[in-house]
């Protein structure tokens, strides 16, 4: 692969290559570290544990896979997580795409203020967001639960979707739209036939991001959920009494679906460019 080094520069090139090789090993060590707890999660779904504390390895079993419904509240929590994520993703993608279009296409009064608030939504710690939302709901006498969780999830993923779409809108070649209009297309037709297909990849990655943020969220959810349980909340509650292997299996399944979507998305993106 590499061209042979010229005689006079042999030694610096060798140290350079050694440095690169060490860095490469380092990168893989960090990746291994990032995956270590994931591996533990997957493996311990197959652990033949006798007690509720699933900590030490006691042999391989598939029995937990057949007993996923042993904890009905856990199943409810996972279904809640999915429902909340779908609903929040739909709302966020819709209004976030509109925001992204406005910010990427137009110059208008209040644009700076909008950017400022969006930045605040990304930069403020979730703890403070959750605490202030709870203050609002307490003061207004709103019962926290499913609906308030959806409201909160839309809030924290909205800016990410808007920014992703905005980037795509700014990168558009406007002359294609002008050509469509010159050929007699109405504003509406131009948008749906030309503009929308071009920004669609941005909308899709924004939606995926919103879904991933929602299904994983713990902090804001804990503050706004009231009696409604989600998957992360159930795990947090279970840490005190012992996390059953079913949690590992459900985590593994969600991970597998996420990986599949990410891989398909990456392959698609590569094919398009």
């Amino acid at each position: 692969m590499d061209a042979p080094a010229p005689a006079g520069r042999r030694s610096p090139l060798n140290t350079r290559r050694l440095g690169d090789r060490l860095l490469r090993v380092y990168v893989w060590l960090i990746i291994a570290w990032l995956f270590l707890p994931i591996a533990v999660m997957i493996v311990f779904g197959f652990n033949d544990t006798q007690s509720k504390s699933n900590v030490t390895w006691q042999g391989f079993t598939l029995k937990w896979w057949g007993r996923l419904d042993e904890y009905p509240e856990l199943v409810t929590a996972v279904l809640n997580s999915l429902k909340i994520a779908v609903l929040a993703t739909v709302i966020t993608t819709l209004i976030g795409t509109l925001m992204g279009l406005a910010l990427g296409r137009y110059r208008f009064r209040g644009q700076g203020a909008t950017n400022l608030v969006m930045f605040a939504a990304i930069a403020s710690p979730e703890l403070v967001m959750g605490a202030s939302l709870l203050s609002l709901f307490i003061s207004a006498g709103v019962q926290t639960g499913f609906a308030t969780v959806v409201i909160a999830h839309v809030l924290f993923s909205l800016s990410f979707v808007a920014i992703t779409v905005r980037a795509r809108v700014i990168g558009l070649d406007r002359s294609i739209e002008e050509a469509a209009r010159d050929l007699g297309a109405s504003t509406w037709t131009t948008f749906w036939r030309i503009t929308f297909p071009m920004i669609l990849p941005g909308v899709v990655s924004g939606a995926l991001l919103a879904f991933a943020l929602s299904i994983d969220d713990f902090v804001i959810t804990q503050f706004t959920s009231g009696a409604t349980q989600t998957f992360p909340l159930w795990i947090w509650g279970a840490t005190r009494i012992g996390v059953p292997p079913q949690v590992n299996i459900l985590g593994t399944l969600i991970f597998a679906v996420g990986v599949a979507i990410a891989v398909v998305n990456t392959v698609n993106a590569r094919r398009r460019t």
Partner: protein
């Protein structure tokens, strides 16, 4: 109609942000100066002494959180920079694969990953158990419930948020600029310290913003991996709000935390010579 278009597009999202981000801050301010309890209700008394009391009572946790956040951020920069550098300059056509590998662990719930660390680091767990039975570690050696475990958990959970912005900044550095420096007889380390490093600083800046703030406000790592000696301010706020229902104290602590962070961010921006934090963060 044409001039109204941007306003109509921005309206739903703008309202959502205004009603659920800006307005709640006002309500939190109001709650923080109320008196009362959950049974008899809370009354607005503009009692500001709660700030002084809360701060005096939880000073230790505030300082501890700042310390943990600071150490975890600095270690994260040290761990993330070489990795981002290698992916940006040596990743070749497999860059996106490496980035995907950095992000994939995020498809497992944050809480579940932290719980997995608890399995790994437990006294008789997979890492310490074998070492102890082999006599390589004393029997009373613990990792769980120590500062090391909490800071390690923070670094683990937020490292990708440091790697990605630094990577993005390094990726934008034109290799031709580095070549030009070398053509002008800059040594490799000089080309790095004088060209690459300064150009990557906005990425480090963004990374610090994206990790220091959530690390300092985190309570999941201290809750799952730490012990009573590692309580962070987030744990206090969470307990006061959701367990003790002492809303005024909790709101006052949240406000103090937010104010301290805003001051910290602006001071940090100033120290780096960036006049406008937004501008730097927007890049």
């Amino acid at each position: 109609m044409k001039r109204l278009a941007p306003y109509l597009l921005i309206l739903p999202g703008g309202l959502w942000l205004a009603i659920f981000l800006v307005v709640p801050m006002v309500f939190m301010a109001s709650v923080s100066t109320q008196e009362g309890d959950v049974v008899n209700g809370f009354v607005q008394t503009f009692n500001f002494s709660v700030y002084g009391d809360a701060l005096a009572q939880y000073q230790t946790q505030f300082l501890r959180s700042a310390g943990y956040g600071l150490v975890a951020t600095v270690v994260s920069i040290a761990l993330a920079y070489p990795m981002a550098y290698w992916i940006a300059f040596k990743g070749g056509n497999r860059k996106s694969t490496y980035l995907l590998l950095v992000l994939l662990p995020f498809f497992v719930s944050f809480v579940l990953r932290t719980v997995s660390w608890r399995f790994l680091l437990a006294d008789d767990g997979m890492l310490l158990g074998p070492l102890k039975s082999a006599g390589l570690l004393p029997d009373d050696f613990h990792v769980l419930q120590t500062t090391f475990a909490v800071i390690g958990g923070l670094i683990y959970n937020y490292l990708p948020f440091m790697i990605l912005p630094i990577y993005v900044a390094l990726e934008r550095v034109d290799p031709k600029v580095v070549e030009a420096a070398q053509d002008l007889y800059a040594a490799r380390h000089e080309a790095f310290t004088k060209i690459v490093l300064p150009l990557s600083l906005p990425g480090v800046f963004a990374g610090v913003l994206m990790t220091f703030v959530p690390m300092t406000a985190d309570y999941v790592n201290a809750g799952i991996l730490g012990g009573p000696e590692n309580t962070m301010i987030g744990n206090i706020i969470q307990t006061e709000y959701l367990v003790n229902n002492d809303y005024p104290t909790a709101a006052a602590l949240s406000f103090t935390l937010m104010a301290a962070m805003l001051i910290g961010i602006f001071a940090y921006a100033k120290a780096l010579g960036t006049e406008n934090v937004l501008e730097a963060a927007a890049r």
